[in-house]
Structures are given as C-alpha cells and as structure tokens.
Symmetry: C2
DNA sequence: TCCTTATTGATACATAGTATCAATAAGGAT
DNA sequence: ATCCTTATTGATACTATGTATCAATAAGGA
C-alpha cells in the first residue's frame, strides 16, 4: 500500500514551539510513530521504545502520546482493534482507510468528507466543528495478492 | 433535537431469532438503550438497570451490550467522551451527530456517506466493507438557546 | 413436571489509562 | 563551565474498563 511520508524534524519543531522541552524520549517516540505503517497503541509504542531505551517509563509514553494527540500530530484510530491505536496525522488528508487483512493504514483525499460535512450542516441545521471518519476493508495490494 | 424512535419489540424479536433466550435482563437493557436520547456506556446502563433490578450483574450487562452490538442493534460512538458509549442503530441511518453542548445524538441521512464510500473505492482501489463516521458540534437547538 | 442447557451473578482477573512524588535533566542565569 | 530553577521522567500505586470462570438459576422443550 503506498504511503505518504512524515518529517520527524517538523514534529520536534512543533513540540518545542508549544513550550515542551526536547528530551530523548520525545525523539524516540516521534521516530516510532512517524515511521510505523500501521496504527500503534501506547502500550506497543512503549515496547518498541524500550528496545532502544530500556529505562523508558510507561506513564511517560502515555503522557507523550497525549501531547502528540493534543498537538494534532497523531490521531486516534476508531473501530476494529479497539480505540487505543494512533497514526500520524497528515495535514489535509484526514480520511483514514484501515485494511482488515494487513492492518496497514492509508490516507485518502479528504475533499469528499469536507463536501459531506458542508452538505450535512445545511440539511440538519447543526453546526459541525469536528469529525471522525474511518473506512475499513481490503486494500488494493491485499486484493491483488488473494 | 428531533429524534426518530425505536421499537423495542423488534429488538426482542431480533434477539430471539438469533437463538438468544428471552430473559428479564434482556428486556430491561433493551428498554434502557432504546429510550435513551444520548450515548450510554455499559457501566451507565448497569446503574440504570439496577434501579429496577438491583440484582443485575455487571458482567451480564457487558455481555448483553456485546450481543446487541454484534446484532447491529446498538452502535459504538467514537470520539469525544471516549469510545465506550453506545446508541441504538437506526437502519439506513448511520451518520451520527453528537452535540458537544447537550450530549444528545442525532441521526442524519446517510446517502452522502454512501456516495463518499463509492467515490473513495473507485479512486483508491481499496474494497471498502465498513465505515465509521461521527460528526461533532453544536446542535440546532443549542444554537437557538445560546 | 422434569431435564437439558443457555444465561446469570459473583468473583477474580486482565487490560487501559491516570495520579503521585522523589529523582533527574534541560536550559537559562551567572 | 557551573549553578539553579523547574519541567520531565520513571516507579509505583491506583482507577476505570472490560473479560474469564464457575456454581447457581431459570428458559423452554420433552
């Protein structure tokens, strides 16, 4: 499945500009989330982090995940496999597809979602300020392999 | 906020036809979920259930919630207020709006979502078999009250 | 009414996430 | 370069949420 890439440097910059100090754990976790092709839980990120930094604390990982989510750098994946997994946020590309065969995430152009939201606002009268959309199925690669 | 209604009888029928026995807990929980205007967690449903049936067991409620979800009678609400709340499923109406002010749920016509899915299938090449869409904001009633 | 078996309730356990606090380390002041 | 202040860390304990086990119960057909 083709994947767009993330620039870990930009994440560090975003964290620092929000007043958060630069630490080793930060860089470790940013690398882990930025380079994973599939949704990761805090617990999984903790396991991976301890491979290179065995003294990494569990709570620290949960705290950093919270910060990354608050800054919008990672997004929670809802649905299959629970609600505790995260993927990197790609700006302007917020329609997430998760393959039920290989588990990988793909980001789709979000223009159709923006259109849908605008249409729903007009027909319902509600003021829509946020949305969550997740699509599930078999990705193109898995279909070809089957 | 206008609400469509649920027929608890149909839920009982669906449960029974799936081979599940008719019990008092079933009817209690169906009533609780079918008549709630906002998302309920299993824990909250347990509290409510014990008001009329104090001996109701905690695990029993979780089991029934799982059955109702598996049968598609209730759906998990993802996002704000966590991922452990459920709303009744209205067939063919799967676009859920949650008001961040009053907490109530509204169901929107899902045709735009079906169109979006079909469009995304064609442009991405993925085979989409399931979706989760949640919209958040201020409902029309809350806007008028403000 | 009896009998079989799914369901229940109680309990213990497992998993996910949070609060606390002394120890550490970042980074500005000196 | 060293000190000082304070955010961050790691360890621990705790809470919340969900699951497994199992004897007791009750549904519903024989």
């Amino acid at each position: 499945m083709p994947g767009k890439t993330i620039n870990p440097e930009e994440w560090l910059t975003a964290l620092n500009e929000s007043g958060i100090r630069v630490t080793a754990v930060q860089e470790t976790l940013i690398d882990i989330f930025a380079h994973s092709g599939y949704p990761l839980s805090a617990e999984e990120a903790w396991e991976i982090a301890r491979q290179s930094r065995p003294q990494t604390g569990r709570a620290t990982v949960y705290r950093m995940v919270e910060k990354l989510e608050n800054l919008g750098l990672i997004r929670r994946v809802h649905g299959y496999q629970g609600c505790s997994h995260f993927v990197p946020t790609l700006p302007e590309l917020m329609m997430l597809f998760i393959c039920l065969s290989c588990g990988r995430a793909d980001y789709l152009d979000s223009q159709p979602l923006e259109d849908l939201i605008q249409h729903s606002e007009h027909t319902s009268g509600h003021h829509i300020t946020d949305s969550r959309l997740q699509l599930f199925g078999d990705c193109r690669a898995c279909q070809e392999n089957a």
